[in-house]
Symmetry: C2
Subunit: 157 residues, 2 copies
């Protein structure tokens, strides 16, 4: 079991470099959107990103947030988080470590690789039993993070 962390500054720099090397231009609006998502430990919906990013760049439009998210998702740098309360939020994507642990109070997301053999074994068994050709899987855990266990909902940022 490993938990994954990465430095937000590095993420932001890496994402910007990725955008550029894929033929997209580096603009101030993109920079603030990228930095906002990369520096957040919680899953953010487009409107959250819009509001946070506007404090650095007030003339930002919500449409630009949608368009930047679209590109980051395309490039596999962020991923959509599905929750009982909605499926509009995004967080950093780690390749090969796609299992999420999500705090239901503050939206904080942790990553865990899990025991790869255990999960692979399970997947294989289900594939064999069902006859399905298995293409992928989602494993997500929901709970309350240590911070929210102490202070209650909505208090973490």
């Amino acid at each position: 079991m490993e938990h994954q962390h990465s430095s937000p500054e590095n993420d932001a720099q890496h994402w910007l470099a990725c955008l550029q090397s894929n033929g997209y231009r580096l603009t101030e609006p993109r920079r603030v959107v990228v930095e906002t998502i990369a520096s957040s430990q919680q899953a953010l919906i487009p409107f959250d990103v819009f509001e946070k990013a506007r404090s650095s760049y007030p003339s930002l439009g919500l449409v630009t947030v949608y368009r930047t998210i679209e590109k980051l998702e395309e490039l596999g740098l962020i991923q959509r988080v599905h929750q009982p309360t909605g499926c509009q939020a995004f967080v950093t994507a780690f390749s090969g470590h796609q299992h999420l642990l999500i705090c239901q109070h503050c939206g904080r997301v942790e990553f865990f690789s899990g025991d790869v053999e255990v999960i692979d074994g399970l997947v294989k068994t289900v594939g064999d039993t069902s006859g399905y050709k298995i293409q992928g899987h989602w494993l997500q855990l929901f709970g309350v993070c240590t911070g929210c266990q102490k202070v209650g909902p909505g208090s973490e940022n």
Copy 2:
């Protein structure tokens, strides 16, 4: 590993009884919506339900489909299916056997209980390591069912 099946007729009767015992009236529109969802092996979005159910009851309104789905979900009889392509579809909910295997071509959904000890062990480890109070989990596998492996996409109903 067990796969779960249930008889659609029984589901429909059970769901209608459940609605009634929760103070909801038994109406023809509800009956056709319930029968449509209960008899489908694929996840259906509200508009699919609307179209199918209208063949039995042409004056059905889409709004009634939404309202009936809402009640069935409230009562835990159906559950929303989250997929890369969207999160509007619903299928029967089995209590305690919530793991899904979804065909990406035809939308067919199978249920498997998985190896409970394996999953519980994993969940416990993640809880201990992270400090989160774990409240629930989602495990979904995506693949192609045996029928669609033979005939290609969109052919199964």
